[in-house]
Amino acid sequence: MEIHRYEKLWFGLSLLLIVGFIGTITYGAVGAGVQMVSDDGGTVEPSFSTINENEKFAQQEDNQAVHVEGNEYEVAVIAQRFSFQPGTGSPIQVPEDSRVTFYVTSPDVIHGFSVVGTNANTMVIPGQIAEITVEFDELDSDEPKEYGVVCHEFCGAGHEEMAGQIQVVPEDQWEGDA
Protein backbone atom coordinates (compact mmCIF):
# COMPACT_ATOMS: atom_id res chain seq x y z
CA MET A 1 0.00 0.00 0.00
CA GLU A 2 1.24 3.40 -0.94
CA ILE A 3 0.72 6.27 1.48
CA HIS A 4 1.60 9.79 0.47
CA ARG A 5 4.52 11.28 2.41
CA TYR A 6 2.40 14.19 3.63
CA GLU A 7 -0.10 11.75 4.98
CA LYS A 8 2.67 9.88 6.76
CA LEU A 9 3.79 13.17 8.29
CA TRP A 10 0.24 13.92 9.43
CA PHE A 11 -0.09 10.40 10.85
CA GLY A 12 3.04 11.04 12.92
CA LEU A 13 1.81 14.43 14.11
CA SER A 14 -1.57 12.91 15.03
CA LEU A 15 0.15 10.29 17.14
CA LEU A 16 2.24 13.02 18.73
CA LEU A 17 -0.94 14.92 19.61
CA ILE A 18 -2.56 11.83 21.14
CA VAL A 19 0.51 10.93 23.15
CA GLY A 20 0.80 14.57 24.22
CA PHE A 21 -2.78 14.60 25.49
CA ILE A 22 -2.34 11.39 27.45
CA GLY A 23 0.97 12.75 28.73
CA THR A 24 -0.66 15.97 29.96
CA ILE A 25 -3.33 14.03 31.84
CA THR A 26 -0.67 11.79 33.35
CA TYR A 27 1.23 14.89 34.44
CA GLY A 28 -2.02 16.19 36.00
CA ALA A 29 -2.33 12.99 38.04
CA VAL A 30 1.31 12.58 39.02
CA GLY A 31 2.64 16.15 39.03
CA ALA A 32 -0.35 18.35 39.88
CA GLY A 33 -1.92 15.62 42.03
CA VAL A 34 -5.40 15.65 40.49
CA GLN A 35 -7.34 12.58 41.65
CA MET A 36 -10.33 11.02 39.93
CA VAL A 37 -13.54 10.14 41.70
CA SER A 38 -13.22 6.39 42.14
CA ASP A 39 -14.66 3.51 44.12
CA ASP A 40 -12.92 4.60 47.35
CA GLY A 41 -16.13 5.99 48.87
CA GLY A 42 -17.68 2.54 49.08
CA THR A 43 -21.33 1.65 48.75
CA VAL A 44 -24.44 2.07 50.85
CA GLU A 45 -27.96 0.81 50.41
CA PRO A 46 -29.95 3.74 48.99
CA SER A 47 -32.48 4.45 51.71
CA PHE A 48 -32.56 7.16 54.39
CA SER A 49 -32.42 4.73 57.28
CA THR A 50 -29.36 2.92 55.98
CA ILE A 51 -27.58 6.08 54.88
CA ASN A 52 -28.11 7.68 58.29
CA GLU A 53 -26.57 4.64 59.97
CA ASN A 54 -23.49 4.78 57.74
CA GLU A 55 -20.49 5.92 59.79
CA LYS A 56 -19.72 8.89 57.53
CA PHE A 57 -23.27 10.16 57.57
CA ALA A 58 -24.03 9.36 61.23
CA GLN A 59 -21.36 11.77 62.50
CA GLN A 60 -22.55 14.65 60.31
CA GLU A 61 -24.13 17.39 62.41
CA ASP A 62 -26.15 20.23 60.94
CA ASN A 63 -24.22 22.29 58.41
CA GLN A 64 -20.70 22.11 59.87
CA ALA A 65 -17.80 20.17 58.51
CA VAL A 66 -16.47 17.53 60.90
CA HIS A 67 -12.89 18.08 62.00
CA VAL A 68 -10.68 15.04 61.52
CA GLU A 69 -7.12 16.14 62.32
CA GLY A 70 -4.79 18.99 61.43
CA ASN A 71 -6.43 20.94 58.63
CA GLU A 72 -8.49 17.95 57.46
CA TYR A 73 -12.27 18.00 57.58
CA GLU A 74 -15.14 15.85 56.36
CA VAL A 75 -18.62 16.70 55.15
CA ALA A 76 -21.32 14.12 54.42
CA VAL A 77 -24.03 15.31 52.06
CA ILE A 78 -27.25 13.58 51.12
CA ALA A 79 -28.42 14.65 47.66
CA GLN A 80 -32.10 13.97 47.26
CA ARG A 81 -35.03 15.31 45.25
CA PHE A 82 -34.59 18.39 45.33
CA SER A 83 -32.08 19.51 47.94
CA PHE A 84 -28.66 18.92 49.41
CA GLN A 85 -28.55 18.11 53.12
CA PRO A 86 -26.66 20.04 54.32
CA GLY A 87 -26.19 22.81 51.78
CA THR A 88 -29.63 23.85 50.64
CA GLY A 89 -31.25 24.91 53.92
CA SER A 90 -28.13 26.65 55.16
CA PRO A 91 -24.65 26.79 53.66
CA ILE A 92 -22.11 24.09 54.44
CA GLN A 93 -19.47 25.84 56.55
CA VAL A 94 -15.83 24.95 56.19
CA PRO A 95 -12.83 26.85 57.61
CA GLU A 96 -10.30 28.52 55.33
CA ASP A 97 -6.95 26.91 54.57
CA SER A 98 -8.46 23.45 54.89
CA ARG A 99 -8.53 20.12 53.16
CA VAL A 100 -12.12 18.95 53.00
CA THR A 101 -13.42 15.54 51.95
CA PHE A 102 -17.02 15.42 50.75
CA TYR A 103 -18.99 12.18 50.91
CA VAL A 104 -22.10 12.43 48.77
CA THR A 105 -24.80 9.85 48.20
CA SER A 106 -28.42 9.68 47.09
CA PRO A 107 -31.38 7.77 48.52
CA ASP A 108 -33.51 8.21 45.39
CA VAL A 109 -32.25 8.91 41.85
CA ILE A 110 -29.00 9.97 40.18
CA HIS A 111 -27.95 13.53 41.02
CA GLY A 112 -24.93 15.71 40.44
CA PHE A 113 -22.82 17.65 42.92
CA SER A 114 -21.00 20.48 41.25
CA VAL A 115 -19.30 23.37 43.03
CA VAL A 116 -19.85 26.11 40.47
CA GLY A 117 -16.76 27.79 39.13
CA THR A 118 -14.41 25.09 40.44
CA ASN A 119 -13.23 21.65 39.43
CA ALA A 120 -15.09 19.97 42.30
CA ASN A 121 -17.64 18.00 40.35
CA THR A 122 -19.04 14.51 40.85
CA MET A 123 -21.99 12.34 39.99
CA VAL A 124 -24.12 11.10 42.87
CA ILE A 125 -25.45 7.61 42.20
CA PRO A 126 -27.84 5.70 44.44
CA GLY A 127 -25.97 2.86 46.11
CA GLN A 128 -22.57 4.54 45.72
CA ILE A 129 -20.82 7.06 47.96
CA ALA A 130 -18.90 9.63 45.95
CA GLU A 131 -15.74 10.77 47.72
CA ILE A 132 -13.93 13.95 46.66
CA THR A 133 -11.28 15.88 48.52
CA VAL A 134 -10.64 19.54 47.77
CA GLU A 135 -8.40 22.20 49.28
CA PHE A 136 -9.75 25.63 50.18
CA ASP A 137 -7.12 28.39 50.28
CA GLU A 138 -6.63 31.04 52.89
CA LEU A 139 -9.09 33.90 52.47
CA ASP A 140 -7.92 37.27 51.23
CA SER A 141 -10.04 39.17 53.76
CA ASP A 142 -12.22 38.66 56.86
CA GLU A 143 -15.25 38.13 54.67
CA PRO A 144 -16.49 34.55 54.13
CA LYS A 145 -16.27 33.28 50.57
CA GLU A 146 -19.27 31.56 49.06
CA TYR A 147 -19.49 28.88 46.40
CA GLY A 148 -22.74 27.76 44.79
CA VAL A 149 -23.44 24.04 44.51
CA VAL A 150 -25.80 22.75 41.83
CA CYS A 151 -27.28 19.41 40.89
CA HIS A 152 -26.23 18.99 37.26
CA GLU A 153 -28.03 15.77 36.44
CA PHE A 154 -31.73 15.73 35.65
CA CYS A 155 -33.48 14.22 38.67
CA GLY A 156 -37.17 14.93 38.07
CA ALA A 157 -39.58 17.85 37.87
CA GLY A 158 -38.11 20.36 40.31
CA HIS A 159 -34.52 19.62 39.31
CA GLU A 160 -33.91 23.28 38.47
CA GLU A 161 -34.51 24.16 42.13
CA MET A 162 -31.82 21.85 43.46
CA ALA A 163 -28.89 23.95 44.64
CA GLY A 164 -26.95 24.76 47.78
CA GLN A 165 -23.98 26.67 49.03
CA ILE A 166 -20.58 26.20 50.61
CA GLN A 167 -19.27 28.97 52.83
CA VAL A 168 -15.56 29.20 53.49
CA VAL A 169 -15.20 31.17 56.76
CA PRO A 170 -12.16 32.73 58.45
CA GLU A 171 -10.48 30.56 61.07
CA ASP A 172 -11.86 32.64 63.98
CA GLN A 173 -15.45 32.53 62.71
CA TRP A 174 -15.46 28.74 62.40
CA GLU A 175 -18.00 27.37 64.82
CA GLY A 176 -17.43 23.67 64.48
CA ASP A 177 -15.55 21.58 67.04
CA ALA A 178 -12.03 22.68 66.23
Binding site: H4, Y6, L9, W10, L13, L17, G20, F21, T24, G28, A32, G33, V34, Q35, M36, V37, R99, V115, G117, T118, N119, A120, N121, T122, I132, T133, V134, E135, F136, D137
Partner: protein
Protein backbone atom coordinates in the same frame (compact mmCIF):
# COMPACT_ATOMS: atom_id res chain seq x y z
CA UNK B 1 -20.43 33.08 -20.81
CA UNK B 2 -18.08 30.32 -21.72
CA UNK B 3 -14.44 30.17 -20.88
CA UNK B 4 -11.83 29.51 -23.51
CA UNK B 5 -10.73 26.15 -22.26
CA UNK B 6 -13.22 23.40 -22.66
CA UNK B 7 -14.86 22.62 -19.37
CA UNK B 8 -16.96 19.72 -18.22
CA UNK B 9 -20.15 20.11 -16.23
CA UNK B 10 -18.08 20.11 -13.06
CA UNK B 11 -15.76 22.81 -14.31
CA UNK B 12 -12.77 20.51 -14.65
CA UNK B 13 -10.10 22.13 -16.83
CA UNK B 14 -7.38 19.50 -16.43
CA UNK B 15 -7.02 15.93 -15.25
CA UNK B 16 -4.53 15.39 -12.47
CA UNK B 17 -3.39 11.82 -11.89
CA UNK B 18 -2.27 10.15 -8.71
CA UNK B 19 1.46 10.70 -9.14
CA UNK B 20 1.30 14.35 -10.14
CA UNK B 21 -0.79 15.41 -7.16
CA UNK B 22 0.81 16.69 -3.95
CA UNK B 23 -1.84 17.89 -1.49
CA UNK B 24 0.27 20.80 -0.37
CA UNK B 25 -2.75 23.00 0.41
CA UNK B 26 -4.16 20.29 2.64
CA UNK B 27 -0.85 20.01 4.43
CA UNK B 28 -0.76 23.78 4.97
CA UNK B 29 -4.31 23.84 6.37
CA UNK B 30 -3.83 20.86 8.60
CA UNK B 31 -0.56 22.17 10.04
CA UNK B 32 -2.41 25.35 11.00
CA UNK B 33 -5.06 23.19 12.66
CA UNK B 34 -2.36 21.26 14.49
CA UNK B 35 -0.84 24.44 15.89
CA UNK B 36 -4.25 25.80 16.95
CA UNK B 37 -5.39 22.71 18.82
CA UNK B 38 -1.99 22.15 20.40
CA UNK B 39 -1.99 25.73 21.73
CA UNK B 40 -5.62 25.64 22.81
CA UNK B 41 -5.09 22.36 24.63
CA UNK B 42 -2.20 23.81 26.61
CA UNK B 43 -4.24 26.91 27.42
CA UNK B 44 -7.29 24.91 28.47
CA UNK B 45 -5.34 22.51 30.65
CA UNK B 46 -2.82 24.74 32.35
CA UNK B 47 -4.74 28.00 32.56
CA UNK B 48 -8.45 27.21 32.48
CA UNK B 49 -8.39 23.88 34.30
CA UNK B 50 -5.51 24.06 36.76
CA UNK B 51 -6.37 27.72 37.44
CA UNK B 52 -9.98 26.87 38.22
CA UNK B 53 -9.36 25.45 41.70
CA UNK B 54 -10.31 24.08 44.13
CA UNK B 55 -9.60 20.84 42.31
CA UNK B 56 -10.17 17.28 43.46
CA UNK B 57 -6.91 16.09 44.98
Amino acid sequence: MSSETETTEDGIVREIGHDEFDPVGTLALILIYFVIIGGLWAFMYFVEFLGNGPTVV
